[in-house]
């Protein structure tokens, strides 16, 4: 099985022009596993392996593809919860089970080779290792199919969670701060998008006016959309609709970041099937074309990113994506930016100027009509806040919106382009989908 050493797939620079494969690659299928809060470490039908196999089977069935037709597998081989794990969980080692569950592979870790074997995908020639997160994986798949490295590529994003409070173990239980953590952990920064975005968010409020709790209508709307997303955690577990009052009364994590500003870690897997536009047109679902993919990795100047940097980075990421797609802000119908912490979405909204939102406009925008059935259906997916820490709702909803199969979540405005990302302001990637290839 070929690796990808040296394969240059990224579009991570300014000024690359329109993507050479614009409209020539498509998503032909997707599949979601059930979404659990945690794996109970005994149910073998609920491991990340079992769920990843299920997600792949659903994606292939939806497209009408058999395993022997799959020649590419891109699978994120990270615990997602990270080495820190949970306090009460045993991430590894453990008393293992009979093959193929005789190691951590298939339980809390997945990789392309393991999956290919389980699926019976005998003709895989592209299965890179050390794969980054979903935001870049979709770009890698699109480029690989466009370049002819493979023609029918599964992209799998498993996200794991075990018992115990999230990421309280591992290095977060250490008395010492090593490596890059020597500059942040002594003072309390455990590392993550909560810290990355909290300080710029505070600066944002002071610069443009407004207060943290102006996020309430956005967060509540994410939950509303999530309850209309049947494969997400909130809907499938019949969670009640979050109210403004509940949000405002919720406890603080990193004051002013509240509990409901944070996504809920889950145990689940999602799969997408990328193929050529030509092949997709012969498959079972209407193709959803890829108009561009882009990546970014910006370096902070000092210890903590500030508002100026966040705004500069999101401006650059937007320019890079729009240039490659040959489109502008007014061309984006469906907009699904990341919301893992609610405090970062505004930076993307303003950077991409969706529906004319400029710097400092977000709180007023959130207070307006952002419902899916309204004129400004922001984050129609419900994001992570509405579906759990899948990090894939943005992509699936975009596909469903363009197919016209989003059900009660279907936007009433034009739905011919969709822009989606799991990404942070500093690093990650975006993908632009189109109902039409041109």
């Amino acid at each position: 099985m070929a690796a990808s050493a040296g394969y240059q797939w990224r579009r991570d620079k300014d000024g690359l022009g329109v993507w050479e494969h614009r409209g020539k690659v498509a998503v032909a299928g997707f599949g979601h596993s059930p979404v659990d809060r945690r794996w109970d470490e005994v149910s073998m039908d609920k491991t990340l392996g079992a769920y990843s196999i299920l997600a792949c089977q659903k994606a292939m069935d939806e497209a009408g593809v058999t395993p022997d037709q799959v020649d590419g597998i891109i699978c994120c081989d990270s615990h997602i919860a990270g080495g820190s794990g949970g306090t009460a969980s045993q991430w590894a080692p453990r008393p293992y089970f009979a093959p193929p569950y005789d190691s951590e592979l298939g339980l809390t870790l997945i990789n392309g080779q393991w999956l290919a074997e389980q699926l019976g995908a005998r003709n895989v020639k592209f299965a890179p290792t050390g794969v980054p997160t979903i935001s870049e994986m979709v770009g890698m798949a699109a480029q690989a199919v466009g370049d002819g490295v493979c023609s029918t590529c599964l992209v799998i994003y498993p996200t794991g969670n075990l018992a115990g409070r999230y990421r309280r173990g591992g290095e977060n239980a250490d008395d010492y701060a090593r490596g890059a953590r020597q500059w942040v952990a002594p003072w309390g920064n455990h590392g993550g998008n909560d810290f990355i975005n909290s300080f710029p968010h505070g600066q944002y409020c002071r610069k443009y006016g407004g207060k943290h709790d102006d996020l309430a209508p956005f967060v509540v709307n994410q939950h509303r959309n999530g309850l209309m997303t049947p494969w997400g955690y909130n809907a499938s577990h019949n969670l009640p609709q979050l109210t403004i009052e509940e949000y405002l009364n919720s406890r603080y994590i990193l004051n002013p970041l509240r509990l409901w500003d944070c996504d809920r870690p889950v145990n689940a897997s999602t799969a997408y099937l990328f193929t050529t536009a030509e092949r997709a047109r012969d498959m079972k679902q209407p193709p959803v074309y890829v108009l561009n993919h882009s990546q970014h990795s910006f370096r902070k100047r000092s210890t903590q990113e500030d508002l100026d940097e966040i705004e500069e980075w999101t401006d650059r990421a937007a320019k890079r994506m729009y240039e490659g797609a040959g489109l502008g802000p007014s061309d984006v119908d469906v907009f699904n930016p990341y919301d893992g912490y609610s405090i970062m979405t505004q930076f993307f909204l303003e950077g991409f100027q969706w529906h004319g939102v400029k710097r400092g406009d977000s709180f007023a925008f959130y207070a307006g009509d952002i419902r899916v059935e309204g004129p400004h259906p922001l984050c129609s997916s419900g994001g992570n806040l509405g579906t759990g820490r899948l990090r894939t709702a943005m992509y699936t909803d975009s596909i469903e919106q363009l197919r016209g199969t989003a059900g009660p979540r279907q936007v009433k405005v034009r739905a011919e382009t969709a822009l989606a990302a799991f990404t942070t302001p500093s690093s990650g990637g975006w993908i632009m989908f189109g109902k039409h290839p041109n």
Binding site: R168, A173, D174, Y176, G188, N189, G202, N255, R299, D306
Partner: protein, 136 residues
Amino acid sequence: MPKLIPVADPLSKPFWDAVNQKRLVLQHCTACDRLQYPPQQTCQVCNAPTGLTWKEVEGKGHIAAYIVIEDGRLNRRMPDQPYNLAMVTLDADPRVNFYSNLPGTPPYKVPVGAAVEVTFEEVAPEQLIHEWRVVA
């Protein structure tokens, strides 16, 4: 409770040695005359691979923003919750910033925009870290 103990590496050792002497030294790029913190292998501004020296700076700054950690993940710091975490910019170059728990400032009572000066705290025998106090 004592804070987490930084572990110096070959790149950062000069910085932490200075901190243990109650001095604040930052990398200084002689090519573009910029200060840099945390230390890196190359200049983050002009990418010069050589010419990075250590320069002592005056420990004066201002509070740019802050949060209050009420439910953090660092086990060693949990008994201290809630506590302030501020972003402090260096007066000598406001593009350089530090974290600080602002010793002497009660939680939630952070005067954003106030002047601060560096101080040093022991986190382990013979290991200090740099902190910042609001100037009275």
